[in-house]
Symmetry: D2
Subunit: 288 residues, 4 copies
């Protein structure tokens, strides 16, 4: 029956590794031979670095776990690729870190409610109390962990305890105004997506809208990237921009930028949740 078949689970595999002829033929031939049905497949060759990238989404004929196990033998064992494998029924766990600005926070929450982001928000961690009431009203667990210069190490340990307790496959910094330490990024157990309020690499660092205003640019932007130990230097996932003029004050830039921050962050999170992003050499391949 169509209804039942529409609900059949799909496997989504991301893979990358040294490029060589025949990889696409091998993968597509293997899936076809086992009676699988490929719904989407996309690949990319980085000719400069000799790297092959592929994302393939298919409905296996048999048991999903077995298929994944066998697929890994082919992709990793035989072809020497690294893989990230997900399934259509998996609902990743997401933790949100936020300070006082609420636009990205609201936006992520509402997109989850509307089914636009396929995930479960397991906890909200903030260094301020401001968003507790709203979070709890919306049925979300809220943790306030104040951060100061003095207690930073201890605060991050507490944050990691909360993440572990609630589970997190992805951490979203929805305008969290603290720098995460290399130690946290290494040990928090999940990739971290951050939103920076400029079109990086322009205006890295603090107060980018003020920097943009004083430089007199005619365009401002926002950038979602994976957080790495090098501040504002992580692999860029998504960017968007909007035009400004001499008439716009810093406050106008902040307001116009909020639109960008919301949509850019949401796109990056959605692509990550759909297993569409491969980060390598400080760049990303986004199979959108």
């Amino acid at each position: 029956m169509a209804e039942t078949s529409a609900k059949k689970e799909r496997i989504i595999a991301l893979m990358h590794g040294a490029d060589k002829p025949g990889i696409v033929a091998r993968i597509s031939g293997w899936i076809y031979a086992r009676g699988g049905n490929i719904h989407h497949a996309d690949q990319h060759h980085d000719n400069e670095n000799g790297i092959f990238f592929q994302r393939v989404e298919w409905e296996p004929a048999g048991n999903v776990e077995d298929e994944i196990e066998l697929f890994k033998h082919i992709a990793e064992g035989e072809l020497g690729m690294e893989t990230v494998i997900s399934t259509s029924s998996k609902k990743p766990k997401v933790a949100i870190m936020v300070s006082k600005f609420e636009h990205c926070f609201f936006d992520i929450i509402m997109r989850c409610r509307m089914g636009e982001l396929n995930c479960e928000i397991t906890c909200v961690i903030s260094n301020h109390e401001k968003l507790r009431q709203m979070s709890e009203m919306l049925g979300l667990k809220f943790y306030c962990v104040p951060v100061t210069k003095e207690n930073k190490e201890e605060a991050e340990a507490e944050q990691m305890r909360i993440l572990k307790e609630n589970g997190a496959d992805l951490i979203v910094m929805a305008r969290y105004m603290q720098i995460l330490s290399p130690n946290f990024l290494k040990n928090c157990g999940a990739p971290v997506i951050n939103i920076h309020h400029s079109f990086l690499p322009a205006f890295a660092g603090a107060k980018p809208y003020h920097q943009a205003y004083h430089r007199g640019v005619k365009i401002i932007g926002a950038t979602a990237h994976y957080a790495t130990a090098d501040l504002d230097e992580g692999p860029i996932i998504a960017q968007d921009v909007t035009t400004i003029s001499h008439r716009n004050t810093v406050e106008d830039l902040i307001r116009k930028g909020r639109e960008l921050e919301r949509t850019v962050l949401a796109n990056a999170v959605r692509w990550h949740l759909q297993n569409r992003i491969l980060a390598y050499k400080n760049k990303t391949v986004v199979f959108d």
Copy 2:
């Protein structure tokens, strides 16, 4: 030697037909088995209509003509696909039809000179003398074929004679202000790309910038499409838009629109020349 191998000819195949499992595996397996090297491959499933589309670009190990012949046996004979096949060394012949507006005309010419469009301009056909001097200065054959209500059939016959004499794999209407008859479109021997100065389907027909001005829209656009017997109804290839405000006069709209017309038409022509477009059911698949 790298130099020699860099110049090796590639085959570019476009194919589409009834969707069924295993097509990608069959094609990629076949190319790989014959020692070919796939540089790009892209596919699309139209699930609503059960149609499969693919563009594949590869460097064959052996003779190009033989490879094409054998490929057609697989793609057409075995898989039941329709194919359009090109090669990297082929330089398509392009005829330009133009009236008096020169921006799209200049733009196409200059892009050819700069190597952005891989084609040979075999002739310029106009219903006015205005662009003769510039065409001839630029080394292009120029034909003036005046068109009136009375002589239209005869004029089109003359145009078709010119096209046949000079050769045309593609006809570009670079703001040619006459409607081509169904008879011409059927018998001219090449696909025709037209640029319409609105974001179709809005403001079809005459004077779209005036229509846009009087409706008070805040955005204007341009649309490149294949010309068909149904005026302004052909498959859309490319569109772009720009914002306007109450301050803009009809003249401003015309000026702003020229930018759009140039880039939209150039994109459509480039994609067509690179064998990237499949038109079906009044829509296009553009493998860009």
Copy 3:
């Protein structure tokens, strides 16, 4: 003291009427002579129709009410203009009409909470119960008025009663999926802003994303306009678009369109609340 002066009330006047020399000089001279301080002034001449438009925002030296009274004497009496006058301390009352789609609804609510829209939401009117819980959780009065073919007249009477009871300087149709009757629009006592999910005039009427998908356009859009008795024909306030490709399903179009609908509607509402829009002859002048 700076603090006090920063809070001084401003008058915002919109005016339009038959164009003639000296209007700007008269208005600016009058304000200056009375010790007023002009913060912004913008004007527009529609030369085709001989109409002059101006928006001027100033801080009067004396009493605000007196200044407004005297200003009207000049602008209306002496210069023959129509005026719409507001003040910086006025917080307009807004009623939201919504059906089941919640993205525009949430968006408007959140922008109010963040101070981006300077208004008071006095009530939410829906033809479904779906958004009651969320509305009430957010502290908003919610009224469900089911609408059927049979009870439409009665339902609209009830809606007008609710609007009157709660007050509404502006009615926002945040994806309210019913057509408001000419009688309602005439008697509801406030302008109505609607969001249509296409770049009008393309794809007016029902299911615009489906229409766009089947026509094969490469760009989709959204349009905010004042609702008038002619469906989808009212003066356009704001439009925005985004690109799509053959890969996008109708569902993708709906998702991508939501972004546009939210920001386009929010811009239109913000400009209206800031007294920046003059509608005339089915067009708008937006002093943004």
Copy 4:
């Protein structure tokens, strides 16, 4: 007669200086009292720096030269403003500096031919012979002045001699791949507009498309600015951007960037020729 009056000369005045109440009233009142007809007026207050900016375009009742003389007495003498005054009949002289890339060069030339840029191109100066033939075919004076490390001072002296001989109210660097010395910029006798192929301040300096490719940004841009002694640091006039993806090679970036460079440079030149730009404190006010 309408025809005659349509051709009446207009004065276009740009002015800026210390902000104070009553400037708009004084200017508009003065023009009105003398029987002038204001067609456009636009003003801007930089509240942070206390600077007032205005552009006003009017048709004087009497003699244009007298009106300009008297206007300067008011604007400069009485109000303490700096002014730049132009008239609608004035056709500024433009010199183009270019190296080998021809897209911006062709674009500027064609826009002049089509009447989009109101100027006279008095000479083309290049450090290569490549564009001589095309220039001369188009009826333009072409000067080749080779530049090396050793002869730079001398070469610039020669360039300045050519500029003086042919006249230049504006110098356009249409992808001129040499750095102009502070001495040249000080003594060349005209403002210089440059096009930089990145969204400054990102990727200043050499090979910005390569920089962008290696940083993995998702958006590239172009920036037109006045050239100053600080390389790539001059006041920004116009910027535009386009999206890229992991699929794009450096060559794709260069091709996509050409579109931006052409339109961004053309906008900057058009605004300058229309006396719409005021540069101050390393920023610009553009009355577009």
